[in-house]
């Protein structure tokens, strides 16, 4: 009886697996054809001299070595990420904590205001900020000049010293709603008992935040960090909208995304031939950085959640 039963379950299982495969096949096929294959093919392409699509000139790591002269783009991307972590994500926590504050009126309105920029297209916000920051007729320049603060009315997007910071801040402004919402969800999961206990123990607000809120938000911080990291190392649109892809001024706003586009797809302005092999090398490098970075952050945060679970 037992033997029979097992056989029938096995047969049943086999049947189900086959049925699953049929359901999975279209997605698997599409994914392989349009995601997995191009990904691996781009890795292959990065070892070949560019030319025809079926280029056979194997050049080893030459493309990677040549791409090293754009080292500054790598550093700029880290800086771009750093500004987002400091401004966007710390503001995100701050906003989330403020929105959770009991007795705050109109939280819905604040939440909407904080989130609205994230619903707009990057090309739109980038262009709007470009207009606002225009030194001749931009709103900021007019306002500063009216207030007599002419020394602060600077060509924000035209000076290599602050162009990248300006672009990063615009991007942080646009996306601050994302971490805010995630932190808000994280905060809502923290039990009120904890705060009550802290209150009874006589903890100050700062202590409560530091010893209760922040440690319990760690998994969310991890996810937000990964999302910011992935988003920033893939970033292209905000720089494209505000400074175009030549890293103007003086390559100061050149990040991995714009570098890849310029080298691999568009070619350097005004006339140059794109180099798909080198573009693929840059894309592969970005992919490796992203894979390593995400794995690292994920590992760190999952460890911390495990530890918490054990406690």
């Amino acid at each position: 009886m037992i033997q029979l039963n097992r056989q029938s379950t096995l047969r049943q299982r086999g049947g189900t697996a086959l049925r699953w495969l049929i359901y999975l096949a279209p997605a698997l096929l599409l994914y392989t054809a349009f995601m997995a294959f191009p990904l691996f093919d781009s890795v292959r392409l990065s070892f070949f001299k560019s030319g025809s699509f079926l280029s056979k000139d194997f050049v080893g790591f030459d493309n990677y070595i040549n791409a090293l002269r754009f080292w500054s783009a790598f550093g700029n991307t880290w800086y771009f990420f750093f500004i987002h972590m400091v401004v966007q994500n710390i503001l995100g926590i701050l906003f989330a904590v403020l929105l959770m504050e009991k007795g705050l009126k109109g939280t819905g309105i604040y939440r909407t205001i904080i989130f609205i920029p994230a619903t707009l297209a990057v090309l739109v916000t980038g262009y709007l900020w470009k207009l606002i920051l225009n030194p001749q007729w931009g709103a900021l320049a007019i306002l500063l000049n009216k207030l007599g603060l002419t020394q602060f009315s600077l060509p924000w997007l035209g000076d290599a010293r602050y162009a990248l910071t300006t672009v990063s801040l615009v991007s942080a402004w646009q996306w601050v709603g994302m971490p805010t919402m995630m932190f808000l969800a994280g905060l809502q999961n923290i039990s009120d008992d904890m705060y009550e206990a802290a209150d009874i123990a006589g903890a100050t607000k700062l202590q409560t935040f530091w010893y209760i809120t922040l440690p319990l938000l760690r998994p969310v911080i991890g996810i937000v960090t990964i999302l910011t990291f992935v988003g920033n190392f893939n970033a292209f649109d905000v720089v494209f909208a505000m400074e175009n892809v030549n890293g103007a001024p003086l390559y100061s706003t050149d990040i991995m995304g714009t570098l890849f586009y310029r080298v691999g797809i568009a070619g350097q302005h005004p006339v140059s031939i794109p180099d798909p092999g080198m573009g693929a090398a840059i894309a592969t490098t970005t992919f490796l950085i992203l894979a390593l970075g995400s794995a690292l952050v994920l590992r760190l945060t999952s460890e911390s959640t495990e530890k918490q679970a054990r406690i």
Binding site: L133, P135, Q136, A141, S153, P155, W156, L250, Q268
Partner: protein, 195 residues
């Protein structure tokens, strides 16, 4: 090149506030709204200012002392006959016509404002500003753009070297001499001048 970079540096006091962050379209708008008195550009922008409510004209920057005046042009397109064509007679007839004064005048009529057929005969164009600009060629030497196209074929491109040199000089990051040295050093990496 040192003198060229110096000339760029000398322009800085006359540029609008925040010029570092102004785009090509911004400078067009500054001139069209009367906020800029003078404006450097090529003939291709002439059509942009067709409807401005003030009178304006074009002039050529004076040459450095003791040098002959030069106008530089950019060859956008050329026309030639394929040696394997089935209709060599017709094609050469057409080419002869398009290079004649009559053909070039008709071509000029249908080209966008500020684009000219470059032939030796003197032709007249309906748009007064376009005509004025073309007339500047009379009595001046003609040459192609400095960086176009030979200096752009290698890495680092002469176009970028000149552009970044100009920015650095105008921002006071480098002296004209340093910028000229950078240009020479950059081009020396790949450019072999033909004699």
């Amino acid at each position: 090149m040192v003198a060229t970079f110096q000339a760029m540096k000398d322009l800085v006091p006359y540029l609008p506030a925040g010029f570092e962050a102004l785009t090509y379209n911004d400078s067009n708008a500054l001139f069209a709204t009367g906020k800029a008195a003078m404006y450097f550009d090529g003939s291709w922008t002439l059509g942009t200012f067709k409807d401005v409510p003030f009178q304006w004209g074009v002039f050529a920057p004076p040459p450095p002392k003791g040098k002959a005046p030069q106008i530089c042009f950019h060859a956008d397109a050329g026309i030639a006959m394929n040696t394997k064509t089935k209709y060599p007679k017709e094609a050469s007839e057409f080419l002869a016509w398009i290079a004649s004064k009559d053909g070039a005048t008709i071509a000029a009529k249908y080209l966008p404002t500020g684009f000219y057929p470059m032939i030796n005969a003197k032709i007249t164009i309906a748009d007064p500003h376009a005509n004025e600009m073309l007339a500047l060629n009379q009595g001046r030497g003609l040459d192609v753009r400095l960086a176009w196209p030979r200096l752009m074929e290698g890495e680092p491109s002469g176009y970028n070297l000149i552009m970044y040199g100009s920015i650095q000089v105008m921002k006071g990051i480098k002296t004209p001499q340093q910028a000229a040295d950078d240009l020479a050093a950059g081009l020396a990496k790949w450019f072999k001048p033909t004699k």
